[in-house]
């Protein structure tokens, strides 16, 4: 299925990784899902990836490079220019959201993930829409 999206997800919390894995691989039946549990040698790892991702989800609190630093590394690469990069964060109720916007993220999804609306948002993001999903 060559038109299936290729997902990259970086997350240090194993439970969060498991949630996303169930959502993407079981519910949405996506076959190209790469999940990293840390950001060590992030540039080398990403450069080595094949095929290249078409959508990226980044947790913010990742070691050693946090979400903002990973975004910067990705934006330096040519192929990522048109790839939506979305932040996944639990810190949805503070000014960090605004920092995400100004830093250049293409969207933000809050944890816990709304399982019902996620596929729709995923597709909208993939279609180039900026989605700032914020719960209260």
């Amino acid at each position: 299925m060559s038109d299936q999206p290729i997902v990259l997800y970086v997350e240090d919390d194993p439970q969060s990784r498991k949630v996303m894995q169930m959502l993407l691989e079981r519910r949405m039946a996506l076959q190209h899902v790469v999940i990293l549990d840390n950001s060590r040698n992030f540039r080398e790892v990403v450069v080595a990836l094949h095929p290249k991702p078409t959508i990226v989800f980044l947790d913010i609190h990742v070691e050693p490079h946090n979400g903002f630093q990973m975004l910067e590394i990705l934006r330096e690469l040519d192929w990522s220019r048109h790839v939506p990069i979305v932040a996944l964060t639990a810190s949805v109720m503070n000014e960090e959201i605004q920092h995400l916007k100004t830093a250049g993220f293409d969207g933000c999804l809050a944890k816990p993930i709304d399982l019902h609306s996620f596929p729709d948002k995923f597709n909208r993001i993939l279609a180039g829409e900026l989605v700032w999903y914020i719960t209260v």
Partner: protein
């Protein structure tokens, strides 16, 4: 110019010198006045005493003169055979005898009279003596055996304006039987030369002989004008036989002043002649002037020396030490508090220096302790800032750490409920639904506690944007409200003014405020309606959320906005955190707005939010 400036703003030394000089000048004038007055009195007294002594001496001299004249007569009378020669009328023998004697006695003229009063012989030694008659009274006295002396004026002569005065001595001549047989008369004129001898030939004491208002002899060249003599009553007094000292000085033609005395001559019974005695007292005046001059000179030298001494003393003992103090003060004013003034002796300046040093010690102590305090305060503030940072970081980290597992619980449970991992029955599904609800509540609680902590710590920061569409946020809120009101008999109505202006603020926080009001209304209203209105009023937008719920009792209304408190109604009916309203109110106020409620028990509650469209307090974060 420099000296002029120095005098305009004189130093201590100049002032003291000036004062000293003034004081000494006044003192000098005073001393001179007193000295002159006293010395004048002293001089007067000295000259008076001396004049008195001289007058007495001169009087004695005249007496001696008179006595010696008498003695000359006695010598003639005592010559052997003089009596027999007078009796026998042997004038030639008598002349021979007497010529020898009269030469010895240096008298001017000798006359011998017989017992009948007839002149037997006349021997003239001095041809200047005018031939004259001896008053018969004197001859008669001699013939009855009495020795007499007397002053006799020369007879007036046309060619001699100066009338001479003669001293005459008459002595009886006796025979062997002791009977008076004749008289011997001896005469001597009181000439200038005689007067000079009486005066011992002195040059500073002068005698003039006054007889019947005429000067008949004098020891000086200057002829005294009798009418202009001072103290004329003294003349009368001396004519009565008393020595009279003039209280006034006699002004001489050469400019000098002489002290003056009138002295009666005690010769015979004639009281018409007196001696005017005047003494040159210039030496006294010179002496007086010298005393005053030398005193003033010595005093001036002493005063000058004293002034110099005091200036030097001032310089060493006062001025230099005050300059040291000034220098120490300047050191202090430049911030060098370790500099100390040299105390020196224990006088007032020493005490001042001591007090200054004490003050410097205190100031140094104060500054040290102040600096210590400042350091302590700084370090305390740094500690507090570090503690705040630690606290903020801790809170952020805690909320993240707490939320992460909760998020997993919620998502995993949802997967189970929704059958992703196999079938669940209705009962299981319900219970798992409660798990999700409880977890979400816990999540809200964590969010609220974190917000409240930030607000109370003053670390709440707004992400301010300039172009917030309130109507869009209200749409969002109403949509969420409708979701909450599914299966509830409540009508949700809106009255939102079209074309509301964009406002300045934090989009997320404004959404949070309005969502809070909406969820509260939905939560506490069992039935009826909820009405959301929004309109512009001047530079503000007023949003109201009115419900038909149970209402809030007046006494409970304030509690609504207090953290961690809820009304009884609220606690009974909901599992809220109790932080939503206080947070909403604080957020509204952080926007420069207000939030309040109006309620009537049993009829419902209306919450109002007023937000300024362009709050001056808010500055766009990404300007």
């Amino acid at each position: 110019m420099g000296i002029f400036k120095r005098l305009q703003n004189p130093t201590l030394n100049v002032k003291v010198t000036f004062l000293l000089i003034v004081a000494f000048v006044i003192l000098l004038i005073g001393i001179t006045v007193v000295l002159v007055a006293n010395i004048r009195t002293l001089t007067d007294q000295v000259s008076r005493v001396r004049t008195q002594q001289e007058a007495a001496l001169i009087q004695t001299q005249f007496e001696d003169f008179s006595q010696s004249l008498l003695n000359s007569a006695r010598v003639i009378v005592g010559t052997s055979n003089v009596g027999e020669a007078v009796v026998s009328g042997n004038t030639d023998g008598l002349r021979t005898t007497l010529l020898v004697k009269s030469g010895d006695t240096s008298v001017d003229q000798v006359q011998i009279y017989d017992s009948k009063g007839k002149q037997l012989l006349k021997l003239l030694n001095n041809p200047a003596i005018a031939d004259q008659l001896i008053p018969e009274r004197l001859i008669s006295l001699g013939l009855i055996g009495v020795e007499v002396t007397e002053l006799v004026p020369e007879p007036e002569e046309a060619n001699d304006p100066e009338r001479g005065l003669l001293a005459v001595a008459v002595t009886p001549i006796k025979n062997a039987a002791g009977e008076v047989v004749g008289v011997a008369v001896v005469e001597k004129e009181l000439t200038d030369k005689v007067l000079d001898q009486i005066n011992f030939g002195r040059k500073d004491i002068h005698l003039s002989l006054l007889y019947r208002d005429q000067i008949v002899a004098r020891t000086v060249d200057e002829l005294i004008d009798v009418r202009s003599l001072p103290y004329p009553s003294g003349i009368q007094q001396s004519l009565n036989g008393e020595i009279s000292i003039s209280p006034d000085y006699m002004q001489m033609a050469d400019g000098f002043q002489d002290s003056l005395a009138y002295v009666p001559l005690k010769i015979g019974r004639n009281r018409e002649a007196i001696a005017i005695l005047h003494i040159e007292v210039d030496t006294l005046f010179v002496f007086q002037r010298d005393i005053i001059r030398s005193t003033v000179l010595i005093f001036s030298i002493l005063a000058l020396a004293t002034v110099l001494f005091i200036i030097v003393f001032m310089r060493i003992s006062i001025v230099q030490r005050i300059r040291q103090l000034t220098s120490a003060t300047q050191f202090m004013s430049r911030g060098d508090y370790s500099h100390r003034a040299q105390v020196g002796s224990g006088d007032e300046i020493g005490q001042l220096a001591g007090a200054f040093n004490g003050m410097a010690d205190q100031i140094k102590g104060l500054i040290d302790s102040l600096e210590q305090r400042v350091r302590e305060t700084q370090s305390a503030r740094e500690r507090a800032e570090r503690a705040d940072q630690v606290k903020s970081a801790f809170l952020a980290s805690m909320s993240h750490e707490l939320r992460t597992p909760l998020n997993a619980i919620i998502n995993f449970t949802q997967f189970v409920i929704e059958g992703d991992v196999g079938m669940v029955n209705a009962e299981q599904s319900e219970l798992l639904g409660d798990v999700v609800g409880s977890a979400k509540h816990l999540l809200n609680l964590i969010n609220d506690v974190l917000d409240m902590s930030k607000i109370e710590a003053g670390s709440l920061t707004l992400f301010v944007e300039d172009d917030i569409q309130l109507s869009a946020i209200l749409d969002n809120v109403v949509t969420l409200g409708r979701g909450l009101l599914i299966n509830k008999p409540i009508e949700l109505r809106t009255e939102i003014e079209p074309n509301l202006p964009v406002i300045r603020g934090d989009r997320q926080r404004i959404l949070q405020i309005l969502l809070n009001l909406m969820s509260n209304a939905c939560k506490y209203t069992p039935q009826g309606e909820i009405k959301v209105t929004a309109h512009q009023s001047n530079d503000e937008i007023v949003v109201a959320v009115a419900d038909t719920g149970p209402g809030i009792a007046t006494q409970d209304q304030a509690i609504v906005f207090e953290a961690f408190k809820q009304t009884r109604t609220g606690l009974r009916q909901s599992g809220g955190t109790g932080l939503g309203m206080p947070i909403a109110k604080k957020l509204a106020e952080a926007h420069g707005g207000r939030l309040w409620l109006e309620s009537e028990t049993g009829k419902g509650t209306t919450f109002y939010v007023v937000l300024p469209t362009k709050s001056a307090e808010l500055v766009p974060t990404l300007a």
